[in-house]
Symmetry: C2
Subunit: 199 residues, 2 copies
């Protein structure tokens, strides 16, 4: 008996993700979202609820679409350090070139903004950080088993270090850092974990 939605909620949410990602939450108005998605205020509120719920939905979608695939590819790769190098290469490529160049990372941006005051957002950030750490830890355990790590390198601590390095890349890329400079830094970091320079 009911009517059915005249738009695709997932496609709309993708647009919302891009807005929040590029412009930030605080500086993106409902009007911006209405204009960008083409759908009406009523439909927006009926489908997603208010702005805060919309932002949380955007965070979830970003994680499903961007973070989780990258984390999974990392954790399942059996090559060890080369997998980490590839992870950072892909990261830097996305952050510095293409459609999302200089957008940084929606999640990293959230850590720096006022939005992290919300308990739900904070919980999301904690979990996201944990997932990044775990993926890095998993691949570093492989690296250790393969004898790729310097004897003094602890995989768990190294995972923490690379996680912080990831945030640094996300932040600096948004402010305009060059891909080459970021790459060189990452290569050096991986080299120092291995006990030798570049790999």
């Amino acid at each position: 008996m009911p009517d059915v939605k005249h738009f695709d909620p997932d496609a709309a949410l993708d647009t919302v993700v891009r807005l929040f990602w590029h412009q930030g939450v605080a500086t993106t108005g409902i009007q911006d979202i209405v204009t960008a998605t083409g759908l009406n205020r009523s439909s927006l509120y009926a489908t997603f609820g208010g702005k805060q719920e919309l932002y949380l939905a955007a965070l979830e979608r970003y994680r499903e679409q961007w973070s989780r695939p990258a984390f999974r590819g990392l954790a399942e790769d059996r090559r060890g350090l080369p997998a980490v190098a590839e992870f950072f290469d892909a990261l830097i490529t996305v952050r510095c070139s293409g459609a999302y160049a200089r957008w940084g990372c929606l999640v990293s941006n959230a850590q720096a903004g006022a939005e992290n005051g919300d308990p739900d957002v904070r919980a999301f950030l904690d979990r996201h950080h944990e997932e990044l750490r775990e993926a890095l830890h998993a691949v570093l355990l492989v690296a250790e088993a393969e004898g790729q790590l310097a004897p003094a390198t602890d995989p768990a601590t190294a995972a923490d270090l690379l996680a912080l390095l990831t945030y640094g890349v996300n932040l600096r890329s948004r402010a305009g850092a060059e891909a080459g400079s970021l790459s060189a830094t990452v290569v050096a970091a991986l080299g120092s974990l291995g006990g030798r320079p570049a790999e």
Copy 2:
């Protein structure tokens, strides 16, 4: 002949710095500033200009009061790696405890926000990053001369790495990271530059 200001502009600016630092630019209204500083809208605009100029003034003041002293202390320290360790210790202490706990860094927060779209802000961020890098580079050159670095460690690249690590600490501390965890990560990073674990 003129009247004279009935308040201390520097003290007012300090209050403004704290507001922007803690709450973010976009979520801090002029009314918040009026309330927190106790001075009038007219005085505010007559002294500092609009919000954007006020934000730039706050950035400058933050740099003078926080960044530059830390950078100078770092660059002038002749001990090498221990100076770097002390720099990060002090950083983590400020970020995780005391009056500014979980506020992150005003400058790091700016890199993640929409405010970095402004050319003046962007220029400030670039320069700030350069000053951080130079300070780290200077002390790492000392460390190299003192034989504290592993042969494969290049001081300039290591400075880049530590700068990114600084951003990571700033970001994660704002989202609630523990001081102990951040410290352990930093110690491990410095250890890997030296070729041995924690020094």
